[in-house]
Each structure stands twice: as structure tokens, then as C-alpha cells.
């Protein structure tokens, strides 16, 4: 069932570049990343692409296929018809380094801004006790493979470079939620951090992130919405407001 597929692939750097046309052999059972590798091996040895595991576990080969953010290793060629032209472009929300490789350092910077897990002071390693049902909520978010497709698709930053400073993005909202829901995390300011430092308020719940997540994490429903709700609970609860005003407790933020 081999055939020649028509591909358009972005070639160039952040300043200039365009879509180049290729015709490449396709065999049964292949995925888009196989075709990109065949291009490298036969026609364009310097085509830049990131990849590692080829099994949807490392989140390296993120790109946009016909405009949709996807992992190239998990996009089967059989989902396209033989006469369709397949367009592969780099993730749009991040600066292009070359061809399909983008500068994703934004994400590593945001990761460094979230206060780390705070271990319970009264427990030694080995003495942690948690129930399965209590760890499962956080475990869902720890399935994240950091492909950054959710970051790429999120229109708060996709089309608004200027928002990047104030907005951490869905990947880091689930990190905040994960720590918030961790049964033994010692901090109680994860919610206020999400609002005051991560800009979770800018998210207007269009669920685009959930749609593109290759791990099928319910980013919006299970992380963002609960985090927003709880932020509102405590921030606008009149009793809490009164208590805070009367005792003049210093404002807690997640600042390091």
C-alpha cells in the first residue's frame, strides 16, 4: 500500500523561511514523524526536528500538522487520504530556531517560578502515608509529558506575545493544581499563587488545551476550573475578607 505523499514543510529560521514542497514515500502503518525522518535520510539531511521516544511518552516532537497542534509520532498517516497535501509547521506560540524546532525556554522559565513541593516537616522519608484515592487527582496532572501543545494552542499567548510575562499557561496551571491537591504538600497558598502570580484569571475556559492534550488530561475541568473556583471561594468570601482585615495578617503570596 506504499504511495507517494505530498508534504509541505516549513524550512527556515525565525526571521525568514517558507513552506517547501516534497514528495515522500509512505508505507503502511507509518506516522508523520517517520515521513519527516525519511525526508532527512533521503532528501534534506539538514531538516531540523526534535524527537526522542517515538512512542508519545517524551513530548519532544510537537508541531502543527495541517494547523493542528499534535505530536508527530502519534499522528498516523492513515488518518489522511493519499491525495491530501500534509502541511507540517513548527509550534506557532514559540520562536522558531530552525525548521520544526522552536525555542521553548518560556516553559522552563515558568516552571522555575512555581514554588516547589513543600515536604511536610513532621514526616521523615518512608513515613509518608497517602490513600490511592487522594493521590489520584494529582497523578492525573503528573501524566503530563511536557509536549507544550497546550501552551501552543492557548490563545492567551498564541496570538498575544505580550501576555507571556503575566500568564503561565495551562501546563503550569495543572502543576499548581497538582501541588494544591497533593495530600501532603505543606503550602496553602497554591490557589492565590495561581491567581496573583500565574494569571489564571486570564483563562476564559475555551478548553482548547484539553482538546490538544495527547495524554487526555482534563486540564480545564479538573485543574483550571477547580483552581479558579477555589481562588474565588477564599478571595471573595466575606467572612474570610473580614477575618483578614481585622487580624491584618500579612498578605500571603506564593512569592519565593
Amino acid at each position: 500500500m506504499g504511495y507517494k505523499a505530498k508534504f509541505k514543510v516549513y524550512r527556515g529560521d525565525g526571521e525568514k523561511g517558507d513552506l517547501k514542497n516534497y514528495e515522500v514515500d509512505v508505507n503502511e502503518g507509518e506516522v508523520v514523524l517517520d515521513i519527516i525522518h525519511r525526508l532527512q535520510a533521503t532528501q534534506t539531511p539538514d531538516l531540523a526536528v526534535r524527537w526522542n521516544c517515538k512512542a508519545g511518552k517524551c513530548g519532544s516532537c510537537s508541531a502543527e500538522i495541517n494547523g493542528k497542534p499534535r505530536l508527530m509520532c502519534m499522528t498516523r498517516m492513515s488518518t489522511f487520504s493519499a491525495d491530501e497535501t500534509i502541511t507540517v509547521t513548527p509550534m506557532r506560540a514559540f520562536p522558531v530556531i530552525r525548521d520544526l524546532v522552536t525555542d521553548v525556554s518560556f516553559n522552563y522559565k515558568k516552571a522555575r517560578e512555581i514554588p516547589a513541593f513543600s515536604p511536610p516537616k513532621d514526616l521523615k522519608p518512608g513515613d509518608y502515608r497517602m490513600q490511592q484515592i487522594d493521590v489520584e487527582r494529582s497523578q492525573e496532572f503528573r501524566k503530563c509529558i511536557e509536549c507544550f501543545l497546550c501552551q501552543d494552542t492557548c490563545h492567551v499567548i498564541r496570538d498575544h506575545e505580550e501576555n507571556k510575562e503575566a500568564f503561565a499557561g495551562p501546563r503550569f496551571f495543572i502543576r499548581a493544581a497538582e501541588l494544591d491537591m497533593h495530600p501532603l504538600d505543606d503550602r496553602d497558598d497554591r490557589k492565590s499563587f495561581a491567581q496573583e502570580e500565574q494569571g489564571i484569571g486570564m483563562c476564559n475556559i475555551t478548553k482548547c488545551c484539553t482538546d490538544v492534550c495527547p495524554e487526555h488530561i482534563h486540564i480545564t475541568d479538573n485543574a483550571i476550573i477547580p483552581m479558579k473556583e477555589r481562588v474565588i471561594d477564599t478571595k471573595y468570601d466575606p467572612l474570610v475578607f473580614l477575618g483578614k482585615t481585622i487580624t491584618r495578617r500579612p498578605k500571603e503570596t506564593g512569592k519565593l
Binding site: 535520510a41 539538514d46 531538516l47 526536528v49 526522542n52 521516544c53 512512542a55 490513600q131
Partner: protein
């Protein structure tokens, strides 16, 4: 010569998988300034592919488990060729290393009483693998990555500079390690993004570069696994041990062709998956070797009962160590009892409900559904052996992970040798990289202390030579294509130095490898230095060729079959050979192999085995030399 980016660190860690990150954490905790260099982005290392779990005798599920039982299982799995001291340290320290991860934020699956849950795995007597579904490696790498971040946050708070003590150099590859008078002076590499060179003056290098799987076409390993640490260690004057032992994981995907070799976790069998041939027969019962006869069920009924009553039944032979299962599958397929795509059937749908499967094996469900259109809750998978792990690695002192030959060179994780003997048990690699990652970091820090603040600098001439070497393929016209040479190497290694070997074929392989080495001196790469995969492969090829030669030469010399080394012309295990380690050393760009006696196992460790079992592995002379009490 051209100006190149230059840094100075106490310790340079090559590789950001589990071992590298754990080493960096330890060296930082010892007050050292550490550079972590990784070919990929942080968090993408091959550790994420580990699925089953980390073996540690915590005794959470079966309280009879302890370090002695784990030690015993590890030695059995390695067919007694393991360095006893490494197996001992590993078994003793693994529980602490796993518990420590919880204090870094890891969330393992739990037992009903809230402890870390542990699962069954091949070769482990009791449920022993701490796990998170079937994505344990991801949990490990993310936890260690987040611990690094947290240490950087501490430094940011205290010193106003998060990278004062730990800096990650991502997408940066090391091409050379430098020494002077037998001691490390630094290393050099290039930024993948720009192709610009970068050099590190350092007294201590921790190799944590993983394995060599990319010497084979059918492999579960990613592009990064080009034996960099193995080759660099040899070129720096270090030695490799056990290179003839490669683990072919019994269950890789066999279809579709593009994913051939991708891992199917052993947890499928640990959780009840059975292997059948095309005639529907559970063939593993035919393949229980004598040394394991007492530990495995002889009937399907008993094997089946073990899943619900492990106290009173023996485990099914699907859970034999990986080398046994891989050979059995290979034999079945060669005998014409394979599946349409050349594998055997692995079926978990008959024992577990769809809900249990999607809960316990979510990424396997996902992987087969998306990549092969197979619903594993309803139908069997097709699987076959895939090159997965190299037991061989840099010869090190067990306690410090230091090379005995190169001062300042350390190795941990898959690139280290000796721990697993001739065959690694599943689950022992995640614990290995935690235990020895920590020890390597500690060893490196102590070594740096012992130098008393003496400065080390790479010699200019060394650096210049290395730069010119690396640039050569870009300026040469009309030479060989690196992709072609790589592909030919993979063919040779797979066909002639694969799962079953014989002298004539290995000799043929060595001739071809030598020709490929000559051709590789004349590589040409198109394009420039900016993120150029063709150039990167050209630089990696030098390492792949050197370690392929090491594998082939050691495989030719060892005239017996043991663990991950099966010789068609020497099918038996030979007690004389159990006393021998094969040591590879580079002589120029050639590999030399010599025999070296295995360290003697102390009596108190030998006494953990009954004499009947030792008889299967040891020579008459060794047995008569044993003291009375262990007889």
C-alpha cells in the same frame, strides 16, 4: 584558534536522565558547582520510557521481602556474573532512594494502608516495584527535574542567582573528554541549536549517558543512545566491562514497521498477561531452564493460581528473567510458530477486565490503540524481542562509581558496568540509577575535595584538535553519508551480533565494522552548523562504531552462553567462564579485550544461597573452597 564559549565547574554531569540528575543533586548538596549537559531538553531523557517501576525491597506488599532477597534475585538474574558489591549496595540502598523521592514530591501508587504500592516483575521473588501505573520513569524524571528546580530556587533566594550552583546546558552534546597525566581536565561539546562549540574546565566528569541501543535497528532506545559515555570513557583511557551482554527485551512491538522495537512493558506479564504462539499454546512452560525449575510453575493451572495466591503457588514462566523469555520467543518464531508479523501473542484481555487494563496499563492501552489500531482490552498484542539495555559499561569502583584508571571519571546508570552481570532484572535499572547516581555525585564531590582547590584547565592543543575533528565532515566534499553508514552498522549488528551469535558471524561483523570505520573517516555533511541532524549523527557515529566493535570483540571471546549473550556454537553456561570478566580498552581507534578475574563473593553473601543452587553456577574448585557453614 577560534574563540569558544568556556566554563569552569567543580563537577560536569553528562546526561540528564535519572542517574545524571540524581548525581547532580548529590554533588550540589555537597556544595559543589555542577553543570548538567544533555543532548535533549531537560525532562526528555530515556528514563521516561521506563514503565514498570523501581525495584526496592521495602516490603510494603509482602513483609518477607528484604535486601538479602533482592540481592539474591539480582545475582540469579545476572547469572552470578554481577559485581557482588554493586548488587549488595543496590539492594541495601534502593528503599531509601525511593522514599527520598516522595520527599521531592513523587506520587507513587499506594497500598490500602497508604504505603507505596509494589508490583510483581520477572525474576523478583516478591512484589517489589514501586510504580505509578505504567509510567514510572516519567514520574522519576519529573520528580528529579523538579528537585533540581527547587535547589535552583533555594540558590536564587539565598544568592540571587538560581544558576550559581546548578546550571543545565540543554541540547548540548559532548564530543570529547580531556585528560592530563591520567586525570580529567575537562570536556568539549557543541550546542545543537547553533553548532557553536563549548568547553568545560573541570576535574570531575560523571558519565550518565545511558546505553548503546542505536547500534541496532530494532531497539526500544531513542536517537540519543549512541554509546557516547561508553566511547568517551574508553578514549579517555578508561575500561568497559561485560560489553558482550545486551538485553533484548522480550516484548517490543513488531507491527506496524515504523514502531517495530518500541517497548511493551513487562508489567503486562506481571499483571497477568500470557504468551502464546500461533497454535494457541502457552509455550513458556517448555522453556524453564534447570537453574530456575524450583521457582516456577510447571502447569498452567498452578501459574494461574499464583496471581491470586502467591503464597502457595509458583509463579508462571512468563515471568522468567528477560533473557530466557526473549530467547524462547525467538525460538518459537524461528520454528514457524510466530504471528503474521513475526512475533508471538501477548494477551492480557483474558485475565483482566477492560477497566483494570486501562487503569493499570494506561499507556500500553494508548500506545496500541493509537499506533497499531489494536484494542488490548479485547485482543492480544503481537510482540517480539527488541534491543533494550546494555549490561556492559564503564568499569567502576562500586562504592564511588570512580573509574580505577582515569582520575576524576565517574559513571552511573546504564553507562556503568558490573551491577547487572549478564542480565538485568526489570525494575533494577530505575533503582540502579538512583543508588549509583547518588554515589557517583558523592564520589565526584569527594574527589574534587581531595584536590584541595587545585585548578584544572584543558590544554589548548587538545581543544584545537577536538574542534578540527568535529568540523571536518562539514568542510569535506564528496565523502560518505552518515545516515548510510549508520544504517549499514545497524544491519550488521542486528544480523550478526544480535540475540543469537556464533563465531563465524561475529568475525564477519568485525570485518564489516572495520570497513565502516575506515569509511566513517571520510564523512561529508550537507548544510551548516545550525541544528543540523546530519552533522550530529556524523559525530555520534564515531562513538557507535567504537562500542559496536567492543560488543563484537567481547562477544567473540566469551565462548559460552549466559544471560544477554547467547552463542549458538557454545550453547551451555560454563562455570569456568563465570569467573571471568571481559575488559575492553581502546588502543587508538581499536578495541582490545582482555580477561580479568571476577571479584570473589564474600562468604556472608554466598551463605544467602543454598549449596544446591551454587552448584549450578560454580566450578568444583570454587565449591570445595567454600567454608563449612555454607555447605
Amino acid at each position: 584558534m577560534t574563540q569558544i564559549e568556556r566554563h569552569s565547574y567543580d563537577v560536569v554531569v553528562m546526561g540528564a536522565g535519572g542517574a545524571g540528575l540524581r548525581a547532580a543533586i548529590e554533588a550540589r548538596l555537597m556544595g559543589k558547582r555542577v553543570a548538567i549537559i544533555t543532548k535533549s531538553l531537560l525532562g526528555k531523557a530515556h528514563t521516561v520510557m521506563a514503565e514498570g517501576g523501581a525495584a526496592a525491597a521495602m516490603g510494603n506488599v509482602n513483609s518477607k521481602d528484604n535486601w538479602q532477597v533482592h540481592f539474591r534475585d539480582t545475582m540469579r538474574g545476572g547469572k552470578f556474573l554481577n559485581h557482588y558489591r554493586m548488587a549488595e549496595l543496590h539492594a541495601k540502598e534502593a528503599p531509601d532512594r525511593v522514599w527520598e523521592l516522595e520527599s521531592y514530591g513523587a506520587l507513587f501508587d499506594r497500598t490500602p494502608d497508604g504505603k507505596i504500592s509494589q508490583r510483581n516483575f520477572g525474576g523478583h521473588e516478591y512484589p517489589r516495584l514501586a510504580h505509578v501505573g505504567d509510567r514510572t520513569g516519567l514520574e522519576l524524571i519529573r520528580t528529579l527535574q523538579q528537585k533540581i528546580v527547587s535547589l535552583q530556587q533555594d540558590d536564587e533566594r539565598e544568592f540571587g542567582d538560581g544558576e550559581k550552583f546548578i546550571k543545565v546546558f540543554a541540547e548540548c552534546a559532548v564530543t570529547e573528554i580531556f585528560t592530563q597525566d591520567g586525570a580529567i581536565t575537562g570536556c568539549m561539546g557543541y550546542w545543537r541549536e547553533t553548532g557553536e562549540f563549548i568547553a568545560f574546565d573541570t576535574a570531575a566528569v560523571v558519565l550518565a549517558t545511558g546505553g548503546i541501543g542505536k547500534a541496532y535497528r530494532v531497539t526500544s532506545n531513542s536517537w540519543e543512545y549512541t554509546g557516547d559515555g561508553h566511547a568517551l570513557a574508553m578514549r579517555a583511557g578508561g575500561t568497559l566491562v561485560n560489553m558482550e551482554f545486551l538485553q533484548f527485551h522480550p516484548t517490543g512491538m513488531v507491527w506496524p514497521p515504523s514502531v517495530k522495537g518500541i517497548l511493551v512493558t513487562e508489567s503486562v506479564r506481571g499483571d497477568g498477561g500470557v504468551l502464546r504462539n500461533s497454535e494457541g499454546k502457552r509455550f513458556m512452560f517448555e522453556y524453564v531452564p534447570d537453574v530456575f525449575r524450583k521457582q516456577y510453575a510447571s502447569t498452567e493451572a498452578e501459574g494461574d493460581r499464583w496471581y491470586s495466591d502467591p503464597e502457595n503457588n509458583l509463579r508462571p514462566p512468563e515471568l522468567l528473567p528477560r533473557d530466557e523469555v526473549a530467547r524462547a520467543i525467538n525460538t518459537e518464531v524461528k520454528a514457524g510458530r510466530g504471528t503474521p508479523h513475526g512475533g508471538v501473542y501477548l494477551d492480557v484481555s483474558t485475565r483482566l477486565s477492560p477497566e483494570q487494563i486501562t487503569k493499570r496499563l494506561p499507556s500500553m492501552y494508548h500506545q496500541f490503540k493509537e499506533l497499531a489500531d489494536v484494542d488490548i482490552t479485547k485482543e492480544p498484542m503481537e510482540v517480539g524481542p527488541t534491543c533494550h539495555y546494555v549490561m556492559g559499561g564503564v568499569e567502576v569502583e562500586p562504592d564511588t562509581c570512580a573509574s580505577p584508571y582515569v582520575k576524576g571519571l565517574f559513571a552511573a546508570g546504564e553507562v556503568g558496568g558490573g551491577m547487572h552481570g549478564s542480565n538485568r532484572l526489570g525494575g533494577n535499572s530505575l533503582s540502579d540509577l538512583l543508588v549509583f547516581g547518588r554515589r557517583a555525585g558523592l564520589g565526584a564531590a569527594e574527589y574534587v575535595d581531595s584536590l584541595g582547590g587545585k585548578d584544572v584547565t584543558i590544554a589548548d592543543a587538545d581543544l584545537e584538535l577536538a574542534v578540527n575533528d568535529a568540523l571536518a565532515p562539514l568542510s569535506r566534499a564528496g565523502g560518505e553519508n552518515p545516515y548510510t553508514i549508520h544504517s549499514e552498522l545497524q544491519t550488521v549488528m542486528g544480523d550478526l551480533v544480535g540475540i543469537i551469535r556464533k563465531a563465524s558471524e561475529i568475525e564477519e561483523a568485525l570485518v564489516t565494522i572495520d570497513k565502516l570505520k575506515q569509511r566513517a573517516k571520510n564523512l561529508t555533511v550537507e548544510g551548516d552548523r545550525v541544528f543540523n541532524p546530519g552533522w550530529h549523527l556524523a559525530l555520534d557515529l564515531k562513538n557507535l562504531l567504537l562500542i559496536s566493535e567492543a560488543v563484537a570483540r567481547a562477544a567473540l571471546m566469551r565462548e559460552e552462553s549466559r544471560g544477554g549473550h547467547t552463542r549458538d556454537d557454545f550453547p551451555g553456561m560454563d562455570p569456568e567462564w563465570r569467573q571471568v570478566n571481559l575488559i575492553c580498552r581502546a588502543d587508538g581507534d581499536h578495541v582490545e579485550v582482555r580477561k580479568q578475574p571476577l571479584p570473589t563473593i564474600p562468604t556472608e553473601l554466598l551463605s544467602l544461597f543454598d549449596i544446591g543452587e551454587l552448584k549450578k553456577y560454580m566450578t568444583e574448585a570454587e565449591l570445595t573452597a567454600l567454608p563449612e557453614e555454607s555447605n
